[in-house]
Symmetry: D2
Subunit: 93 residues, 4 copies
């Protein structure tokens, strides 16, 4: 069980939509559509991915990190450190 498992179907639905949007980008490029229109669509796909990341992170904090902290000990510090590093990657990507 993961923090996100209870919402798995929702994440799978979003990821299928992102996958479809990426295929749509390829069609736009295939059809020589105007660069700015392709760029606008890429920004939309990026925002879709961002929403998936922020959702997963929220559930990770609420379940995996919270459980480790409740149990205390070194695992708790490691879990928070790991979450902070994932947040840094998100902020910098």
């Amino acid at each position: 069980m993961r923090g996100y498992t209870q919402d798995k179907e929702e994440y799978l639905k979003r990821l299928r939509r992102v996958e479809g949007q990426v295929r749509g980008l390829a069609r736009m490029v295939e059809n020589d559509e105007y660069c700015i229109d392709v760029l606008t669509q890429v920004s939309a796909v990026t925002r879709g991915l961002q929403a998936v990341s922020l959702g997963l992170l929220d559930e990770h904090l609420k379940h995996c990190v919270a459980e480790a902290v409740s149990e205390g000990g070194e695992d708790a510090d490691a879990k928070i450190q790991e979450a902070s590093e994932a947040i840094a990657r998100l902020v910098r990507s």
Copy 2:
């Protein structure tokens, strides 16, 4: 013809890779893989999309915008304004 048309195959190849990575994300979620590992993969997909955007934008400036500027007139200003707005969307997504 678009600014990116000459490199179309390269962009299609990258987009197919991104599409495969998004499918890979869905498999990770399907298999209840660890949240942080899924998040790390999402950051990789985001960077892949970013590279596609920056490439398309560079080619747009070098071809579409440069041609409009060389011809001069209102279309040139409009093209640059449009490019600036696309850049703002990229920076803010």
Copy 3:
């Protein structure tokens, strides 16, 4: 006491450096320095601010959120929700 209080001097030092960098940007603009050089410096200031944010967030998770989670109850959920919203603002800024 806050999560960051123990490292307050370090954060104050970094913020003074950012403040000095912003003053430096104004001097560059005052002296009509080349746009790209000013832009390069703005990116450096942004990264400095980002490091401050990520540090503060890490300490907030390690202290304020961890304490609330250890004590349990509604405050814990509220603290995590609040942290997730701050992370979302960071990712989207």
Copy 4:
């Protein structure tokens, strides 16, 4: 003369505001204000800097890059390449 020179006062005003906001951040840290409130203010400062960057970039494209392109030759390609690299730094910071 730079692309932004005609709007220099506006940029100096914005940079002074950002400088004041950074000083305000230091006061918040000095006074042990709540981490989330400090983080919220950092996001506001980052957006202020982003607006400065996007404005400078827009003016750079409209003046410096457009002039180089109108004159044609190698300098035009170099100017666009330089702008693309500055955009990449912005997107990635």
